[in-house]
């Protein structure tokens, strides 16, 4: 049971990092990125391929060890976001969301079909699990230190970033881009920075994921598991509020993993259907939040400059 809780916390921490990244893009910068899952996926595959031993099944043999390959897991999705940003950031709001959703689908199909690169649906096996041989029994607890530590680190990273003058400009652009332009801020550059930064950090979460499971395949990155559930975490917690998003993440991931238990109680023929009921449950949570508390549990945070208090 304890190790079950640890494994829940590890996955929640990984999702927490993606949710923080998405919250930065959407909650603070106003970029409706429906392609966050693509960055997560790219990060996961980057780490898997960079760290894998030479094999005929897919690209590999670069021999970049953990945690150095996490740098690659950040740079590759970040750079791809940079390229995507040129056409996509010409759009705003809904059209931007549709564009990123389409890009998510394209990247998913590439990973799914390019056998030489990713081994397609068979996925990548035997990804190194750092120090696994030393403690196979307590591995979940050990990995929780890594993933949880990174989550806490990124939480403080984003808290500092959004409160800085840089974050202030980003938040200003979200509220009113014309106004920000007329305040001399080069809005496009800030939106690009936000898009790249969020995508890179979602990529790091992907890297953490593959080193935890030791295996990765496209099925880990369905629209539900890579994008929709992250959006749900952000919306439940309250977009524009990092603390709220962490609570939203642990809540949503708790419901998702907890409902897996419930499906065990169903008789055999019902069990497969119960899987779909879990997805249905996620949709219901989204509806409840949108109808009863559209700002999320915590709502938007009112940021007061710290220099004001010292006076």
């Amino acid at each position: 049971m304890l190790s079950y809780i640890a494994s829940y916390l590890v996955m929640a921490s990984i999702y927490g990092i993606i949710a923080l990244a998405l919250n930065f893009q959407w909650g603070f910068s106003g970029l409706m990125n429906f392609g966050i899952g693509a960055s997560y996926m790219l990060g996961a595959y980057s780490a898997a391929l960079l760290s894998s031993a030479p094999t005929a099944e897919h690209l590999g043999g670069f021999g970049v060890p953990f945690p150095l390959d996490l740098v690659g897991a950040a740079i590759i999705p970040g750079f791809i976001a940079f390229l995507i940003g040129f056409p996509a950031l010409k759009l705003k709001g809904g059209p931007f969301a549709i564009a990123t959703l389409a890009i998510h689908e394209i990247i998913y199909l590439i990973v799914h079909n390019e056998m030489w690169l990713t081994n397609g649906v068979w996925g990548i096996r035997d990804i190194s699990r750092p120090l696994y041989s030393q403690m196979p029994q307590q591995y979940d607890f050990f990995y929780l230190l890594i993933a949880g530590g990174m989550l806490i680190g990124f939480y403080f990273f984003f808290q500092k970033a959004v409160r800085s003058p840089w974050g202030r400009v980003i938040r200003g652009i979200k509220v009113d881009e014309d106004m920000a332009l007329m305040s001399g801020k080069y809005a496009w550059s800030y939106k690009m920075q936000s898009f790249v930064l969020g995508s890179a950090i979602a990529g790091i979460a992907g890297g953490l994921f593959v080193h935890y499971t030791g295996f990765v395949s496209p099925t880990n990155f369905t629209p539900l598991m890579a994008t929709f559930i992250v959006w749900l975490m952000v919306m439940v917690g309250g977009s524009g509020n990092n603390r709220g998003v962490l609570v939203g993440t642990f809540f949503v991931w708790g419901v998702w993993t907890g409902s897996e238990f419930l499906t065990d109680f169903f008789p055999g023929s019902m069990e497969t259907r119960a899987g779909f009921m879990r997805m249905f449950l996620m949709g219901i949570i989204l509806l409840i939040v949108i109808i009863t508390r559209p700002q999320g549990i915590f709502g938007k945070e009112k940021i007061i400059p710290k220099y004001l208090r010292s006076e």
Partner: protein, 255 residues
């Protein structure tokens, strides 16, 4: 002339919004721009500040051609504008919406946040002090932690002016300073505009639909009708100009 517009033309689909429009704004003046609804006043502002490209014509600011520049670069030349509907950082506190304004902020660079913390803090303290002074000028110091959206209409206009004072521009384009302001407060807003114009040597260029607001604020006044400049002159001249009266009455007849 601080600002000069030369034969500006702008067409939106089938509508010629601005037609061969030419005029100038004198340094140190509070110049008004009036015209009936749909005369192209706000379009002219958008052309000057780079939000819409011109079809033809040129815009000069301090003798420099700014026709092709985007809004953020025009701002850095010393030209600021407000918007008709008070927008501007509604989700931010009053103080933050002022702190966003200063140029040359070290902390606006992502890397500097992590490497130049103490210098940024120094700058922030300096700007915060300035922002509090600006709020005190407008007698709004107690509002500093309020969200900008919660301010009443008149104070939102004052916040607009406050943002302007944080940036120290040479020319300010005010888009309808009377919109959304209760008449009782309008005189107060006008007085602030006049004071800033005198004390800080800021030139104002004001678009306004409401004749009363503009008559006791601006001199000279430029009249635009159907996208082109009809005439210009002092408030008295404009009031007694037959063409102007017809343009306004004509509009009322259509309504």
């Amino acid at each position: 002339m601080l600002l000069e517009i030369e034969k500006a033309n702008k067409r939106f689909g089938g509508i010629q919004a601005v037609r061969d429009c030419s005029f100038g704004v004198e340094k140190g003046s509070i110049t008004g721009l009036i015209g009936p609804n749909g005369a192209g006043k706000t379009t002219l502002f958008n052309l000057v500040t780079g939000f819409h490209p011109l079809d033809s014509g040129r815009v000069y600011f301090k003798g420099e051609d700014i026709t092709e520049l985007p809004p953020n670069e025009i701002f850095h030349k010393g030209l600021f504008r407000t918007f008709q509907i008070v927008r501007g950082y509604e989700d931010m506190t009053v103080l933050e919406s002022l702190l966003i304004m200063p140029t040359q902020q070290l902390g606006e660079n992502f890397w500097n946040i992590w490497t130049k913390g103490s210098k940024i803090e120094e700058q922030e303290k300096k700007f915060t002090k300035k922002a509090i002074e600006v709020l005190e000028f407008f007698e709004m110091a107690d509002r500093k932690e309020e969200l900008a959206r919660n301010l009443p209409g008149g104070e939102k206009k004052l916040l607009d002016l406050g943002r302007m004072m944080m940036a120290d521009p040479e020319l300010v384009l005010l888009d309808e300073p009377g919109a959304g302001v209760p008449p009782s407060l309008q005189q107060k807003v006008n007085n602030y505009i006049k004071r800033i114009s005198d004390d800080k040597n800021v030139t104002f260029f004001v678009v306004e639909h409401d004749m009363n607001v503009i008559m006791n604020l601006c001199d000279p006044i430029i009249v635009v009708v159907e996208g082109t400049n009809l005439t210009s002159g002092s408030p008295e001249e404009i009031k007694s100009n037959q063409e102007v009266i017809e343009a306004y009455l004509g509009e009322e007849e259509r309504v």
